[in-house]
C-alpha cells in the first residue's frame, strides 16, 4: 500500500489520468444500472451494497475539474493568474515543484498536498515583469532627485539636521507599533556656528548627548505618543539649547578653574608657583594679585615656555609615562639640572 502511495503521490500526471479513469468507470456503472431495470437478470444478494457505495463516490467526484495549470497557455500574463500575495496552490502554479527531506535515493514529495510549500512565504506575485509594470504605474507620482545634491557632502551641507525614525513591519490586529514614535535628531555641532562660550555652554547643556569623537549631537525623544509630536519636540529642544547657549547669565562670571573644560596654564596654580619661584630666585619677595599673576610675562624666565607646554600637555592629554618624561625634561632645563642619562 505504502509503495503505491509513494509512486502515486509525487506524480501529478498520474492523478489526472486517475481522475479520468474514475470518470470512465462511473459512466460504465450508470449504464449497467439502466440495463438492470430493463432486463430482469438474476439478482445477486448484495449485503454490503458494494455497488451503491461505489456509485456514491463516483457521483461526487464527477465535478472535479482538471488542474488549471494544465490548461495554462505558455504566453499568458502571469500577473493576472497570481495578482497578489497568496498561499501556494498547486493547481495554479505550472511548475514541477518538490519540497521536503527524504532519505537518500528517493524523490521529495511533490507540489500536491504538500503542506511545506504552503507554509513558506512565496513571492510569486512579484515577478520581474509585474514589478516593472507596477513601477511604471507609480512613476507619475515621483519627482526628480535634485541635481545639486549629488554627493554625501552636499547633502550634509544643505541638510545638516538629520532626523532618524524607524518604521516597523509587524503582524497584529493594529498595524501601529509604539516604537515607531521614537525620533532621533542628529546634527554636527560644527554646523551650528557657535562661538567659544556658546559652544562650551551648549555642550554642557546637552551633556552626554554630545560625542566629542564624532562631533555629533544626538537628541532622542520618545515621550509623546505620536511621531509628529516627538519630531516637533526634538526640534524645539535643539532650538532651545541653541538660544540658551548664546545667553550669558550673571552667575557665569563665577566660573572657576575647576569648571574649565580644558587646562589653561595661565590661569592655574602652576603659573603662580613658577612666578613665585622666579621672584624668589631673584630675591624679590612681593605678593602679586591674581590678575598680575595672570598677566605676568613668563618669557623673561628662561625655559619657561617648555615648562608651560609640558604642564599643559600633561593636564590636557592625560597622564602617561610620555607626558611625565616630557615634564621632567622641561623642569630640569628650568632648574639647570643635568639631563637624565639614557641607559
Amino acid at each position: 500500500m505504502s509503495l503505491f502511495i509513494r509512486n502515486y503521490k509525487p506524480n501529478s500526471l498520474a492523478t489526472v489520468y486517475n481522475v479520468k479513469i474514475w470518470r470512465l468507470h462511473s459512466t460504465a456503472a450508470e449504464s449497467t444500472q439502466k440495463k438492470d431495470e430493463n432486463e430482469e437478470e438474476f439478482r445477486v444478494l448484495d449485503i454490503l451494497k458494494k455497488k451503491d457505495r461505489i456509485q456514491r463516490k463516483v457521483t461526487r467526484r464527477a465535478d472535479i475539474q482538471p488542474d488549471r495549470s494544465d490548461r495554462m497557455a505558455p504566453d499568458q500574463n502571469w500577473g493576472n493568474v497570481w495578482p497578489g500575495p497568496k498561499t501556494f496552490h498547486p493547481s495554479s502554479v505550472p511548475l514541477p515543484l518538490r519540497q521536503g527531506y527524504v532519505p537518500k535515493g528517493q524523490a521529495p514529495p511533490g507540489k500536491k498536498a504538500n503542506a511545506e510549500l504552503m507554509k513558506v512565504p512565496n513571492f510569486l506575485h512579484l515577478t520581474p515583469p509585474v514589478i516593472k509594470s507596477q513601477c511604471e504605474a507609480i512613476k507619475q507620482y515621483c519627482t526628480e532627485w535634485p541635481n545639486l545634491l549629488n554627493s554625501q557632502e552636499a547633502i550634509e551641507k544643505h541638510y545638516p539636521v538629520e532626523i532618524i525614525t524607524s518604521d516597523y513591519c509587524h503582524a497584529s490586529p493594529s498595524i501601529r507599533n509604539p516604537l515607531a514614535r521614537i525620533v532621533t535628531l542628529r546634527v554636527k555641532l560644527s554646523t551650528l556656528k557657535l562661538d567659544k562660550h556658546a559652544r562650551d555652554k551648549f555642550i554642557r547643556l546637552v551633556g552626554d548627548r554630545y560625542d566629542s569623537s564624532t562631533d555629533l549631537v544626538t537628541i532622542t525623544a520618545d515621550r509623546c505618543p505620536a511621531r509628529i509630536q516627538n519630531t516637533d519636540y526634538v526640534n524645539y529642544l535643539l532650538t532651545a539649547c541653541f538660544h540658551e547657549a548664546w545667553n550669558v547669565e550673571e552667575w557665569e562670571k563665577d566660573k572657576t578653574e575647576d569648571d574649565m573644560e580644558y587646562y589653561d596654564w595661565n590661569n592655574n596654580a602652576s603659573k603662580k608657583s613658577l612666578v613665585n619661584w622666579h621672584l624668589q630666585k631673584k630675591g624679590e619677595s612681593k605678593t602679586l594679585t591674581d590678575d598680575e599673576y595672570k598677566s605676568f610675562d613668563v618669557s623673561e624666565i628662561q625655559h619657561a615656555d617648555g615648562y608651560k607646554n609640558a604642564v599643559s600637555d600633561w593636564m590636557n592629554s592625560g597622564e602617561s609615562e610620555e607626558t611625565v618624561k616630557k615634564y621632567a625634561e622641561a623642569v630640569r632645563k628650568l632648574f639647570g639640572l643635568p639631563e637624565k642619562k639614557v641607559v
Binding site: 502511495i5 472535479i64 498561499t87 527531506y101 513558506v120 498595524i175 516604537l179
Partner: protein, 172 residues
Amino acid sequence: MNTSIIKLVQHSLGVSGVLGQCSPALASQLHTSAPLCRVVSGKYRITKKRDKPLTYEMANPPHYIAHRKSWNSWNTSNLKDGLRRSETALEDEFIRRFMTGTWHGLVCSEIIVKRQFNHIRVAGIIRRAVSPTKMYFLLGYTEELLSNWLQCPVTLELQTVDSFKDVVFKYI
C-alpha cells in the same frame, strides 16, 4: 530528567487532576508542558503492524523545525521584541481549534496561520468529502466568524485532496 519526573508523577499519582491537588508551589515547579519533554514530544510510536500513517509534518520531530520542516505559525510576535506574544499564541490556537471543529473530520494537515500586517491567512489541506456548496458555505462561515472575533480580515486559503492517503508521507 524532566521526563523522568513527569513519568514518576504520572505513575505514582495518576495522570491528570493530581497536579491541581498538589500544593500550588509544587505544581508551579513541575513542568508538564511539551517543550520540556524533548525526548517524547512531537514524536510518534512505531506500531507493531507498521501501519500508522504519518504526514510529512508528523514524520519530522520538533527539533527539525527550520531544518527539514518549517513553522506552522508565521508572525512577528515570535521574533525578538515582538508585540502581543501571548495573545498571538492564544489566537492561533483558537483558530486551529475552530477550524478543526468547523471542518469536522476534513482537515488532513496542520492548520497554518500566517499573519501579515493585520491580515490573517489560514491555510490547510482539506479532504473533498463534502459537496462544494457546503465547502463554500463553511469557507464564508469561518472567515466571517473569525474576522468578527479577531477584529481583522481573515482569509482561508485551502487546498483539497481526495483522501487522507494523499497527505500520508510514511507508515510506521
